[in-house]
């Protein structure tokens, strides 16, 4: 899977969790770009990504997750 394909799948997760069907995300997309992206949403996004990509994100990474890129880098 290419990085762009991974980003597309992450985008679906962000659209679903943030309840914004037309949302377009980039690697630098962060909570500052979206008021709905709060700490609760972060957890939901991470859990959904873990299920989608069959991966486990370290809790230390979740603690300081500031943008899409940090999550994308972990996708296998």
């Amino acid at each position: 899977m290419t990085r762009a394909q991974k980003l597309d799948r992450l985008q679906e997760i962000f659209r679903d969790v943030l309840d914004q069907p037309a949302l377009h995300i980039t690697e630098s997309f962060s909570p500052a770009d979206c008021p709905e992206w709060d700490s609760v949403a972060t957890v939901q996004i991470v859990l959904a990504a873990e299920a989608e990509f069959a991966m486990r994100v370290p809790t230390a990474t979740v603690a300081h997750l500031h943008c899409v890129r940090e999550l994308l880098d972990l996708v296998p």
Partner: protein
């Protein structure tokens, strides 16, 4: 070797309610609704000025002892867990020992434990029974976390309530009571639940009173209790099912053997996720947070107390108590209710501030 059984339990929350409407006025409706839809917490009970966690603990203990007709000189041990004690020195156990009128031969001490307090305090008390140091003990779990939160910290204010529980432990036969414990720590996460300027490491000064707003809009200072919610949530969702599995293996019981699995009442979504991962059926689940909030160290025992009040705990029931939080820590206790069951304490579960020196 003496063995402890849980023979009575009671909980108390403040009468004061912090409603969703009040929070929506403070943080905005959309923001609050986003959190409450997942947390499942509609109202929180919080102390009013002048009321402390030890007031709640006193009320819970006094009502339990009166209702059960327990002679106060018969208590050998008083264990108090709180992170919001009356003083840094001395421990709150001494304040409550005097206020409850306990005898000089009754040992009293605090355990500084957060949300995982209940299993830890039961384990310590069980150890005192086994050592021959106790035949009757009172365990008090109390927290008033609302008093150490910044009022603009949306993440914590919307979740936390205040409360206290009193649990009576008495000698029992070996096949009932406190049957097993599983305790553990992931100290790599201690910073995720922390009140930085609260002790010797970071003395309070002008800089610790400076307000900081995080990326999600939560306001706090170093003198307030802080939580990295996403980290704690992630830890709980993954770690707790894992250690519950370990505990069941260690105890030699399966989910099918259990009548009730009571989890720390952090928030409904988290509890549901853990139940789902464990495969706990609905009839073995229990929730007690919607009208009171997350009661921190009192949350798990208050849920047990409420389950007793609702008739969910039958005589002989096998119950798994699972608590987790500050540390990051977890504690799991396996409890067999005695053949006579746990009879609800008929006293009120509310406390209204009248006079700090005359509450009961």
């Amino acid at each position: 070797m003496l063995h402890a059984a849980l023979t009575a339990i009671h909980h108390v929350v403040p009468a004061r309610r912090l409603t969703a409407a009040e929070l929506e006025a403070r943080f905005g409706a959309k923001s609050v609704q986003s959190i409450t839809s997942l947390s499942g917490i509609r109202e929180r009970r919080i102390v009013e000025p002048g009321m402390t966690a030890s007031d709640l603990a006193f009320a819970a203990a006094d009502r339990l002892l009166e209702a059960r007709g327990i002679p106060r000189p018969s208590l050998d041990v008083l264990v108090v867990t709180t992170q919001t004690g009356d003083y840094q020195i001395p421990g709150t156990a001494y304040v409550l020992h005097e206020r409850l009128g306990l005898s000089p031969h009754c040992a009293a001490f605090d355990l500084a434990q957060g949300c995982s307090a209940f299993p830890y305090s039961l384990a310590v008390a069980q150890g005192l029974f086994a050592a021959g140091l106790a035949r009757r003990a009172l365990v008090l779990n109390a927290d008033a976390v609302s008093s150490i939160l910044h009022p603009q910290d949306r993440t914590l204010v919307t979740l936390h309530g205040d409360g206290a529980t009193a649990t009576l432990l008495e000698t029992a036969t070996a096949n009932e009571g406190l049957l097993g414990f599983h305790l553990g720590t992931d100290s790599s996460g201690w910073r995720y639940l922390c009140m930085p300027a609260s002790g010797a490491r970071q003395p309070r000064d002008e800089s610790t009173r400076r307000e900081i707003t995080d990326e999600f809009g939560n306001v706090r200072t170093a003198e307030h209790f802080q939580m990295n919610g996403q980290a704690v949530f992630h830890f709980a969702i993954h770690k707790i099912p894992e250690v519950v599995g370990e505990a069941l293996g260690k105890f030699g019981v399966s989910l099918a053997d259990l009548d009730l699995v009571i989890l720390h009442q952090a928030n409904r979504f988290m509890i549901q996720q853990i139940y789902k991962k464990l495969g706990v059926p609905a009839e073995k689940q229990f929730f007690y947070l919607e009208d009171v909030g997350n009661l921190s160290g009192a949350a798990t025992p208050a849920a047990l107390s409420e389950a007793v009040r609702q008739g969910r705990v039958r005589p002989g029931a096998l119950i798994l108590l699972v608590s987790f939080g500050v540390g990051l820590s977890w504690g799991i206790a396996l409890v067999r209710v005695g053949p006579h069951g746990l009879v609800p304490i008929s006293a009120s579960t509310e406390l209204t501030l009248v006079n700090p020196n005359s509450q009961s």
